[in-house]
Amino acid sequence: MQDLFHIGGKALSSRLFIGSGKYNRNSLIPEVIERSGAAVITVALRRVNPDWEEENLLHHIPSHMTLLPNTSGARNAEEAIRIARLARAAEMGNWIKLEVIQDQRYQLPDNLETIKATEVLAAEGFVVLPYMSPDLSAALRLRDAGAAAVMPLGSPIGSNRGLRTKELIQILIEEARLPVIVDAGIGKPSEAAEAMEMGAAAVLLNTAIATARDPLGMAEAFRGAVAAGRLAHLAGLGPVEPNAVASSPLTGFLDAVGAEA
């Protein structure tokens, strides 16, 4: 069964989004893409350094990939909007991972500024995928502002600590009525599978693959985990048996003498 995933008018063949940062050499990226099966890859924008010639990252990204530039470095809505507009000038699509981080110690997103930037960018035709703290009110406001999905954090960026915000992400999945992509914090394939079992639309990860001893092996492990979690979600998890009740203290009255049929 083809389980396509539509976002921003595109049908994606994989629910695993990967990042392009933190690899010890960028030449690994094409094979990571292949082994992970990912269809979306994030990239960042930085000032060019005049002093040395850097290799062009885009050379390592096959043309079939959907490029998801992020706004990393933005500390408020205005900066994020500027970065998004610059990224679009590359004419490689209109997707943007909106990331506004005020707090430099924990690198936690600023939901308020993120909502403001989403309004502006969605109105300009961007497919906005906001990175956010899993808060339902914020998710609903992002939806109203025109976000194509929400990307709640599982735990702080780069921490590899897993789904610490599970309860809150579950609420978003149940209530937000737009795709929920778990971004940040997933360190192990089992955690990616867990997010997918919960009903996440996709997961985005970078550090877990890029910093593994064998990034290619880990890319393939995550591919399997995401697929397994998704299949489990679609198959419907089996019933969790509640504690057995011997008698019928709450409904016994229905069988009592004199009760209706």
Partner: protein, 369 residues
């Protein structure tokens, strides 16, 4: 998009065939989930679920305790006018019945309100027959002005209105709206609503949403069980509540579980809603919508009400008269027969004995000026 559009997608759904198809496994799966979908709702209202009422009840009680605690909010309906322009087959206020109609003037409203308030009740539900001519917005506003002197929460159950009319009443002090679709099944709706503006199905269906849009704090909907197949009606009513909850997260959505009681008319119920059926509907509502209020009226007999308070109910009417002015004068014609005729203090005592706290005043809105 309104719930009307969603409903249209369900119109061709083969309810009876699908409901028969659920098994014990489907019911247990639904019971093991934290968030139920439409498929689970159908399973819980299926014949198969009738064999699992105790498990459903255990879960329902647990959810209710988690969400609401051990409390039941009490309210009293107050009928101020029985003039009605509609002819509905199942209702004794119907325009075809010839009985002396009555409408309270403000002095009488005040006396009736004082009699109800003396029982300790602070949540009042203002009811009229449906007639824009006899109980127009201005009349309701005048009533609300009087009621505000006696009560902290005022709900209305009147003819469907526009958003701006609802807003006008909200400014006057109304915080809650009750509108029952009565029956969601369209053909039955058309058959039972013979004459009058109530024939407009869609206008009524969208009235609760207009109340949400007008900013009411609480909106209460319901299917009058018995007018059509109760399983199907309960599915649609629960989906309606789910739609409102999803789209208006700041409004508390409640479901009532009125069961048709015969009265003045000849009309006899179409679907036999036994006690077991009523319990199944109540439990399915609670499991599908953990945060929804569930309202139980005095249509049900005391012996049953005393049991249902443990299964997910959050609001109960008490000390009820369904006749206009019934708390302070004699001789009105009741809209329907009530079964639980206990006084407010008797209900309060019953709740305490069941380990539940009766809540007379849930909130007190701050109105500027």
């Amino acid at each position: 998009m309104s719930f009307y559009d969603i409903l249209q997608a369900w119109e061709s759904f083969p309810f009876s065939q699908r409901l028969q198809g659920y098994s014990d496994v489907d019911v247990r799966r639904a019971l093991g989930k934290s968030k139920l979908d439409a498929e689970d709702l159908l399973a819980l209202l299926s014949p198969a679920a009738g064999r699992h009422l105790e498990e459903m009840a255990q879960r329902a009680r647990q959810i209710t305790q988690n969400q609401f605690g051990n409390v039941i909010q009490l309210f009293t309906p107050m009928y101020v006018s029985d003039y009605c322009v509609n002819h509905c087959e199942y209702c004794s206020f119907s325009s075809i019945y010839d009985f002396p109609r009555k409408k309270l003037d403000m002095r009488e409203v005040d006396r009736e309100a004082a009699a109800i308030a003396a029982t300790g009740i602070r949540h009042i539900l203002l009811l009229t027959g449906e007639s824009r001519k006899d109980s127009p917005v201005d009349y309701l506003k005048a009533c609300v002005k009087v009621l505000r002197e006696h009560f902290t929460s005022i709900g209305i159950e009147v003819n469907p209105m526009s958003v701006s009319e609802y807003e006008e009443l909200a400014i006057a002090g109304v915080d809650s709206l009750t509108v029952f679709q009565e029956v969601y099944h369209r053909e039955t709706y058309a058959k039972l609503h013979v004459k009058g503006p109530k024939r407009n199905y869609r206008n009524r269906l969208e009235a609760p949403e207009r109340g949400c849009a007008a900013g009411y704090r609480s909106v209460n909907i319901g299917a009058l069980l018995g007018l059509y197949d109760w399983r199907q009606e309960a599915v649609i009513a629960a989906l309606h509540a789910d739609y409102l909850q999803t789209n208006y997260p700041s409004c508390e959505i409640s479901l009532s579980i009125p069961r048709f009681r015969p009265f003045l008319g000849e009309y006899q119920p179409d679907s036999d809603v036994t006690d077991r059926a009523l319990v199944q509907v109540l439990l399915a509502y609670r499991l599908f919508l953990p945060r929804a209020g569930i309202t139980l009226s005095t249509r049900e007999p005391a012996r049953l009400r005393d049991k249902l308070v443990h299964l997910g109910v959050t609001k109960m009417s008490a000390g009820v008269s369904t006749a206009v002015g019934g708390h302070s004068q004699d001789g009105g014609t009741p809209q329907f027969d009530i079964s639980d005729e206990r006084s407010v203090s008797e209900i309060r005592e019953m709740l305490y004995q069941n380990g539940l706290q009766p809540v007379f005043k849930d909130w007190d809105i701050l109105i500027p000026n």
